[in-house]
């Protein structure tokens, strides 16, 4: 089935970035944002379960489980929020095209992300082995806490992996000054993971 005369292909459009990239970037941006919205609903469903159980008559925390260590958790949170700030500056520097500072901030973000994960791992071991608050053994508190923070931890580790891949790609020149949607998507995802932790930190440790 020979195709009749094809209309002219994607030519270099105006303002330097070719029109095809500009159009597909808008699609990919909206797709990424909608994905983050649906992921946000996943978290809010579990948060509903946690809050629903909290005010269903039993005292909180359930007898036999002591309060969580707020001091350590706030350090951990500051580490994650710091990585959010460094991520923002990494993208800013990429836009202003000084690759050196971009690489510095990107690596800082990855290191802080891994720092948060190890802090979370430390808290888990402390809870499970010293205070015997386990995932399956300590009622709805254990279930909600470990499921929600565990799922968030999983999202952070995927985020760290994602940032490492992005960093290697940027080193290999996949992204140019005008075409760097990969980095924007990575930053969106990382900020999303930060914002979820703001909510989780306050509902588990502060109320």
């Amino acid at each position: 089935m020979a195709v009749a005369s094809l209309p002219h292909g994607s030519s270099a459009g105006h303002d330097g970035v070719d029109q095809l990239y500009a159009d597909t970037r808008a699609l990919r941006l909206q797709g990424m944002l909608l994905f983050l919205v649906s992921d946000c609903i996943l978290f809010s469903s579990f948060i509903f379960a946690y809050l629903y159980m909290r005010n269903s008559g039993q005292g909180w925390p359930p007898a036999g489980i002591s309060r969580l260590d707020v001091a350590f958790a706030s350090v951990n949170s500051v580490v994650l929020f710091g990585s959010g700030a460094t991520m923002h500056y990494a993208l800013e520097n990429w836009k202003h095209n000084n690759f050196g500072r971009y690489a510095l901030f990107m690596l800082a973000t990855i290191v802080l992300g891994i720092g948060f994960l190890s802090g979370q791992a430390y808290e888990y071991t402390n809870l499970i082995f010293k205070e015997h608050v386990t995932w399956a053994g300590s009622g709805i508190f254990g279930a909600s806490f470990f499921t929600l923070t565990g799922m968030h931890g999983f999202h952070v580790s995927v985020g760290v992996l994602y940032l490492i891949i992005l960093f290697l790609q940027s080193v290999h020149g996949v992204y140019t000054k005008d075409k760097y949607f990969g980095l924007t998507a990575g930053t969106l995802y990382w900020h999303f993971v930060d914002v979820i932790w703001v909510v989780l930190f306050s509902i588990f440790y502060l109320i």
């Binding site: 944002l33 001091a71 706030s74 350090v75 959010g84 900020h191 930060d194 703001v198 502060l206 109320i207």
Partner: protein, 71 residues
């Protein structure tokens, strides 16, 4: 000299929280009037990051989340 780990954690949390809050506030001010959907979402995220940093600092300073040690 021996510093009680909890006090060390709390100081780190307060100092770190304030630094991140200042940095994200400055970043938010710089990009305040950048157009584009992704920049709008970034501004929202930076705002929430600012709030998160403040909350973490206050938690470190025992203003939020200090409960009488349950029996």
């Amino acid at each position: 000299m021996h510093i009680d780990p909890a006090v060390l954690e709390r100081t780190i949390a307060i100092i770190g929280g304030i630094i991140v809050a200042i940095v994200s506030a400055k970043a938010l001010k710089d990009d305040w009037n950048t157009p584009g959907l992704d920049n709008q979402v970034f501004k929202l995220m930076l705002g929430l990051l600012f709030i998160g940093a403040i909350v973490a600092a206050l938690a470190g300073a025992n203003v939020l989340g200090n409960f009488p040690k349950a029996a």
